[in-house]
């Protein structure tokens, strides 16, 4: 709209003001995401020390109190071994945290260098890398992960390895697109014409500009990776019971389903809230760090 004119002396102030107001209006959901993620991290850090029945985390047996409904003593009820579900769910936070961090970390560690190489070098390197990436993207991640776990054998470690191996192509796509546009930015081309070396251009112009989208994607992926690992646990190919992992807990709880519904309800609720938290946080971060690509 050409009708609104902003004089130069106000421009900087107005821009800052607009930014604050804008992030504020977007913050209701972003703050909720931040709160959920903070709660998740705190539980992962201090949860095992705070839970009411620490012994229940790993295979204690209290046959007298099997499958009790939620009560004052057991907020989330008890499972088929008589273990406190709240304790097990809270202790499971830590498993989910390292699972999420590992998968996202390995995926980024593989994907980012490949993406930078493809986007910045271009040519045949790019064609090869992107072709391989496309092949991996052509099989839905969960199915490919299932196949890899089937080859390696079930277990949480193998599940994490499998998911890491199917997770990296997203990072190649993201970074390749970013590096490709950056390579043709006038200021990058200007730097090149002035004799800047590849290393300098990469360090000074390409990588710093990749950090924002990377942080956003990593935040989203933390949640999605936790969800995927829980999914593998649920079908019996990830963590194995009695390990206090959310997906594996639901897999067992499924057998007690209609009558003892709280057994599967609470671990699932924790998965949902964790994934939701990381998604909302990612959305908020995008609005803040990368406003141009913000959609919706």
């Amino acid at each position: 709209m050409s009708a609104i004119a902003i004089p130069n002396r106000h421009a900087a102030l107005l821009r800052r003001l607009r930014f604050v107001v804008w992030t504020f209006t977007a913050s209701a959901s972003a703050m909720a995401g931040l709160a959920l993620v903070a709660a998740f991290l705190l539980l992962a850090a201090f949860g095992p020390a705070l839970v009411p029945y620490p012994d229940d985390a790993r295979g204690a047996m209290h046959l007298a109190q099997r499958l009790l409904p939620p009560s004052g003593a057991h907020w989330f009820g008890t499972d088929e071994m008589g273990c406190d579900i709240l304790t097990r769910v809270v202790v499971g936070t830590r498993t989910s945290l390292w699972v999420g961090l590992t998968i996202t970390g390995i995926a980024a560690a593989i994907g980012v260098p490949l993406g930078v190489a493809a986007g910045y070098l271009g040519g045949r390197a790019r064609a090869t890398i992107m072709r391989i990436t496309d092949v991996f993207l052509a099989v839905p991640g969960l199915v490919l992960a299932l196949a890899i776990v089937a080859a390696l054998g079930p277990g949480i470690l193998h599940g994490v390895v499998a998911l890491s191996l199917v997770w990296w192509p997203g990072y190649v796509r993201l970074i390749e697109a970013k590096a490709l546009t950056l390579r043709h930015e006038p200021y990058v081309e200007a730097a090149r014409t002035m004799g800047a070396g590849h290393a300098w251009v990469l360090a000074r112009h390409i990588l710093p500009n990749c950090i924002s989208p990377l942080v956003v994607k990593a935040s989203m992926d933390m949640g999605l990776a936790i969800l995927a690992a829980a999914s593998l646990g649920f079908v019996g190919l990830g963590a194995r019971p009695p390990a206090p992992e959310w997906g594996a807990m639901i897999a067992v709880a499924r057998g007690y389903m209609p009558d003892w519904w709280w057994y599967s309800f609470f671990p699932g609720l924790f998965i949902f809230l964790t994934v939701l938290g990381f998604n909302l946080l990612g959305d908020g971060l995008r609005d803040m760090l990368d406003p141009r690509s913000a959609r919706g």
Binding site: M1, S2, A3, I4, A5, P7, N8, L14, V21
Partner: protein
């Protein structure tokens, strides 16, 4: 009907944003008679495009808000129109031509499909009838090979061709008034002349009334008989074109004319107007031009001048309001 075709009275419009309210149009009074060709000139941000959109009620509300005033077209109150009346006004009453033909044509539809949509909106039915009328319109804007053009997409056309298509769309509803908002700004200079000539020709051929908006006095001088000068949301001068170019009165108009490079005296640098256009959120009190004016008096800071005079209207305290006619201010 004996009244003016378009009559805008005391029209004030604001945009409400989180940064405050911007008074974009600050009391516009404008009458356009049937058959007139009126040019509205002003710098970017003076509100001329907003005014054009207001006439068709195209400004999104919110954030736009009409504060006071009215707009009447052919005697009807535009601001009170309901859905069907508004759709009839748009296209059938007033045809609008936009600035950038690149963005004002839908990229995923053929030219024929976009023309057909507009024709159907004005009640035309039947494949053959729509095709015939489309060809007629494309020929009217002098586009070559109209039949082939119907099947093509906007990105396959040049800028000039696209603008002709947009003009054809504006004519599709057989409007009485053609409202052209910077129709040549986005075009190459060589194409600008052709498009302007086309507009002038169409106005003459179909007996249209023309309101042409431009920041370029040359464009307006080429085809308009009357010129309206806007500054910061107000009309500051309104006069027959020849009169205005020969005897500009308002200090702003004179600055504007002095800023046009003179091809006959290329050694003389065109003069700019000192300062910059004011913030519409926090405009200067009184006359909005006073911080940039070299004739500023006390009253200019206190009171906004009214547009006065007949035939040649100006809004300036420095021009003695009692003298009608051709009072010249000391330079």
């Amino acid at each position: 009907m004996s009244g003016p075709l378009l009559e805008i009275t005391g029209f004030r419009l604001a945009f409400d944003g989180y940064e405050g309210r911007a008074q974009v149009l600050n009391g516009i009074d404008l009458r356009v008679e049937q058959g007139e060709t009126v040019g509205i000139v002003g710098e970017t941000g003076c509100g001329k495009s907003v005014l054009a959109r207001s006439i068709l009620r195209l400004n999104p509300t919110p954030p736009a808000r009409v504060l006071t005033g009215g707009i009447r077209f052919a005697g009807q109150d535009v601001l009170a129109m309901d859905g069907p009346a508004l759709m009839a006004l748009r296209g059938a009453g007033i045809g609008m031509v936009f600035q950038d033909p690149q963005t004002y044509l839908n990229p995923v539809f053929t030219i024929g499909s976009q023309l057909a949509d507009v024709l159907r909106a004005h009640g035309l039915r039947g494949r053959a009838a729509i095709r015939a009328r489309s060809l007629e319109l494309l020929e009217a804007v002098r586009l070559p090979e109209p039949a082939a053009l119907l099947r093509r997409y906007p990105h396959e056309l040049s800028g000039g061709m696209r603008q002709r298509v947009l003009i054809a769309q504006a004519l599709a509803g057989s409007p009485r008034l053609l409202l052209a908002d910077e129709p040549t700004t986005a075009l190459d200079v060589t194409i600008q002349g052709q498009v302007l000539a086309l507009v002038a020709d169409l106005v003459a051929r179909f007996g249209l009334t023309l309101v042409l908006i431009s920041h370029d006095l040359g464009v307006i001088g080429a085809i308009c008989r009357r010129v309206v000068v806007m500054y910061a949301g107000s009309i500051v001068e309104d006069a027959p074109a020849e009169e205005l170019f020969a005897h500009p009165r308002h200090p702003y108009t004179r600055g504007l004319l002095a800023a046009v490079p003179d091809l006959e005296r290329p050694t003389q640098m065109p003069a700019g107007i000192p300062g910059s256009i004011p913030s519409l959120r926090d405009p200067p009190g009184g006359c909005r031009f006073h911080p940039r004016c070299d004739l500023t008096m006390d009253i200019c800071r206190r009171e906004a001048p009214r547009l006065s005079g007949t035939g040649h209207r100006t809004a300036c305290h420095a021009l003695a309001p009692n003298q009608d006619g051709y009072a010249q201010v000391r330079p």
